[in-house]
């Protein structure tokens, strides 16, 4: 029986994930969605973290705002829309949950239904 401490387990997991991701990139014909980024170039967190955890950030900020009135925009949904909404050919902003737009493109790809926009504004003010 091999005794593994916490560090070596973490190391093994990291190695496994590296192998997994390198296998993933080796497959060239995986179709990933083309996401229009709006004017967002530099996100509030690293992109890998945002892809995986953006809803956690938004949810945390949501409670801060609703219950404590903290309206800083670092992790606010309004902040996402400000940066990532794209303009149409007429120069007007397109709803961020419209087909082919920032939020919707990825959520369609991942087959995840978003419920934010039954209530929240879909274009910047």
């Amino acid at each position: 029986m091999i005794n593994l401490d916490r560090n070596s387990i973490a190391g093994l997991i990291a190695l496994f994930l590296t192998l997994l991701s390198s296998t993933g990139t080796a497959v060239a014909d995986v179709v990933t969605p083309e996401v229009p980024m709006g004017r967002g170039a530099q996100c509030v967190e690293p992109i890998e973290i945002m892809r995986r955890d953006h809803f956690e950030f938004i949810k945390h900020q949501r409670d801060q705002t609703v219950y404590h009135g903290i309206r800083g925009t670092r992790h606010s949904l309004a902040g996402c829309i400000d940066c990532h909404a794209s303009k149409g050919t007429d120069g007007e902003f397109l709803p961020i949950n419209a087909e082919g737009q920032f939020c919707q493109t990825c959520h369609t790809y991942a087959a995840v239904k978003i419920d934010c926009f039954t209530c929240h504004a879909t274009v910047p003010d």
Partner: protein, 255 residues
């Protein structure tokens, strides 16, 4: 209280902590000595942009019914445009956060026109009955709905003695960024919490002032020197339905 002996590093940490505390306290005293009073006022007025509201404040509204003009609905239209409320021409179910009500004393013929809105009670019946905890009262007295957890049961609408709440029956589009609203949830006057958090006045109060009536005074009920508390201490004010002992944040005067 336990008195177990401290380890050496714990005691060092505590000493460090004490040192920091005294340094900071000394800095605070010197600051107060430099500008007595001024600093304290600044702290009390601190913007809540990045700090939660505290119960040192209680936001409220005083309606001077003598100044409120019959037929004027500037406050109602200001509220509608501030929050993007638009109806479907069905007054019984359309969202209504503030309404003008005309009253007549049948005995004397005396007439009144007053705005009715969420009274921001200290003991709100809507909060009592909410099964999910969506109806809540913020530390500074503003009664709100957390629409993320509202299930649209409408118990609060039945519990509210002022019929201040509305239910959204249909899909909405074009909501304002600062005022999210959606089908299946209950809503009511937020005392323009998004503006209050930025040290501004509610939209109805500004509109009433702009129309030259100045019948609405917004302020902190706990701040004796503020406009609301100082006015309330000089004139007789009353709550709607005082028999319910709700201690409302919205009060009326001159009737």
């Amino acid at each position: 209280m336990s008195c177990k002996p401290m380890k050496k590093d714990e005691s060092a940490a505590l000493a460090q902590h004490r040192r920091t505390f005294f340094t900071q306290a000394a800095a605070g005293v010197s600051l107060m000595a430099l500008a007595p009073g001024v600093r304290l006022v600044e702290l009390a007025m601190a913007n809540s942009e990045d700090s939660p509201p505290s119960n040192d404040k209680r936001w409220g509204l005083l309606v001077d019914t003598a100044k409120c003009e019959s037929g004027c609905d500037e406050c109602v239209s200001a509220c509608n445009s501030e929050h993007g409320l638009s109806g479907h021409g069905r007054p019984e179910t359309d969202a209504q956060w503030i309404r003008k009500v005309d009253l007549k004393d049948e005995q004397t013929g005396h007439e009144l026109s007053i705005p009715i809105l969420c009274q921001h009670c200290e003991d709100p019946p809507c909060v009592d009955v909410c099964p999910t905890g969506a109806s809540f009262r913020r530390a500074d007295g503003i009664v709100l709905v957390d629409k993320h957890i509202c299930i649209g049961c409408r118990y609060c609408m039945m519990a509210c003695p002022f019929q201040a709440r509305s239910f959204i029956h249909e899909d909405l589009t074009g909501q304002k960024t600062h005022s999210p609203r959606g089908k299946g949830t209950v809503e009511s006057c937020t005392l323009c919490v998004h503006r209050v958090d930025e040290d501004q006045q509610p939209a109805c109060v500004e509109a009433c002032r702009a129309a030259g009536h100045d019948a609405l005074v917004f302020g902190d009920l706990e701040d004796a020197a503020g406009p609301l508390a100082s006015l309330s201490s000089k004139t007789a004010t009353r709550e709607l339905r005082p028999d319910l002992k709700l201690n409302t944040g919205v009060r009326y005067t001159s009737f």
